[in-house]
Structure formats: structure tokens, C-alpha cells
């Protein structure tokens, strides 16, 4: 399941729900990304998506993860709109028979979301706002999987 939301979310219940009824799964890995205050430099993070296109692009990439790691299931929840420091921005969960596949698929999906998924991120701080683009490390992270 892939969803975008402009409402805050609690990763705990998402993970509990994702784990429910999985007698044959064996391994669930999850990742939660939180908005960082950057020592007061970021008061608000603003995330923009292209409705329809963003979900479709993430969905197509998620299929590659499903095949590559032989996943049984996956879940991605991503915030859009205005996000305060400390709030969850992204939640990814993966289900597989064994832990290595679940961990790696979670890592793979996050590397994609950081640098390739159609989101645009603006930091609002005390000195105004700036658009954040992927760092060199983010490009290196996704390149690891080539």
C-alpha cells in the first residue's frame, strides 16, 4: 500500500497493522524518517507532490523492490504539506520470508524515496526558505543498487 497524507501519522499503529495476520512472513523491517530541526535552522519542512503521478512512480518502483527481494508485501506512507521538526515524514515497511530481504528492501526503497521519488522539499527557517535537492550522498546511496 502506498499513500500520501497531509495529516500527521503515528508509525506504531501502522507497523502493528502491517504485522497482523502474517503466519508465513517471518520478517518485517520498517523505517521511519522524522523531520530534523537542524539546530533551529528548520522551523517547518514543506513537501510537495504531483498527485497521481507521485503515487504511480512510487508504485512502479515498489514493484521492482517486490521482485528483486521477493517481498510478500510492502507499505509506504509519505507526508506532504507542512511538517514540524520531530514529526514523521515517511514510513516504509517490508515483509519477506527472511530478514535480509526485508532489511535490504527497506533500505532500497528509502534510497529511492530520498533521491528519485517525485517530491519537492522546502525548508522554512529563520532566514527564509530554500528548496532542498538530493545531496551527493543520496545519489551515491541509490547507485549502490545498480
Amino acid at each position: 500500500m502506498i499513500s500520501l497524507t497531509d495529516q500527521g501519522f503515528d508509525p506504531g499503529p501502522l507497523l502493528s497493522g502491517f504485522c497482523r495476520g502474517r503466519a508465513e512472513t517471518g520478517a518485517v523491517a520498517s523505517f521511519t524518517g522524522l523531520a530534523r530541526a537542524e539546530g533551529g535552522e528548520t522551523k517547518i519542512l514543506e513537501l510537495e507532490a504531483y498527485p497521481g503521478f507521485t503515487e504511480a512512480q512510487i508504485g512502479a518502483f515498489a514493484e521492482t523492490a517486490r521482485t528483486r527481494f521477493d517481498l510478500q508485501d510492502l507499505m509506504i506512507v509519505h507526508r506532504i504539506g507542512q511538517i514540524a521538526p520531530g514529526e514523521p515524514i515517511v514510513f516504509v515497511a517490508t515483509a519477506a520470508s527472511h530478514r535480509r530481504a526485508a532489511f535490504e528492501a527497506c533500505d532500497y526503497l528509502m534510497d529511492y524515496l530520498k533521491s528519485r521519488a517525485p517530491f519537492w522539499k522546502k525548508e522554512h527557517g529563520p532566514d527564509g526558505a530554500r528548496w532542498v535537492e538530493p545531496r551527493a550522498e543520496d545519489h551515491e546511496d541509490i547507485a549502490r543498487w545498480a
Partner: protein, 81 residues
């Protein structure tokens, strides 16, 4: 009537997020020329490396024909999470 969408820093440069053009330009290259003639800074930003184009929600790499109801989105470098 073509619908043009700008995302991220592109909408800040242009001062708009969305506009419609009637009639729709024949090709993507015509649209680029039209937008650049209107706003040179935007024209330059749209041509910058790393800016992708989605035509009717599908990424296109080269020039393409537009239909009267095309939706064209200009997408600067993406960053989520």
C-alpha cells in the same frame, strides 16, 4: 487547452504553479519557447540539467507532440523522505 504545471523551485521562479494555454502549442519545444519568451528566467530554469518533463503524467526525454488537452509538468530534481 493545455495545462502547464510547475513544481518545486520552478513555481517560485515563475510566480505561478499552474496555467492553461489556449490553443495548446503543437509541440513541447514550442511550449518551452513560448514560456521562455514570456519569462526568460523561467525559460532558463526549465532548460537546466536535471529538470524532467512529464507529459500526461508520463516522463518524456525528448521533444514530443502535444494534444489540445495535454498536461505538461516540469519537474526539478526530486527529494523526498
Amino acid at each position: 487547452m493545455a495545462r502547464i504545471l510547475l513544481f518545486g523551485r520552478l513555481s517560485d521562479i515563475a510566480g505561478w504553479r499552474e496555467k492553461t494555454l489556449e490553443p495548446a502549442p503543437a509541440r513541447l519545444s514550442d511550449l518551452r519557447a513560448l514560456l521562455a519568451a514570456d519569462d526568460a528566467a523561467l525559460g532558463e530554469a526549465l532548460a537546466a540539467p536535471g529538470v524532467q518533463v512529464a507529459l500526461d503524467q508520463v516522463l518524456v526525454r525528448d521533444d514530443a507532440a502535444l494534444s489540445p488537452r495535454s498536461e505538461v509538468a516540469f519537474l526539478p530534481p526530486m527529494s523526498g523522505g
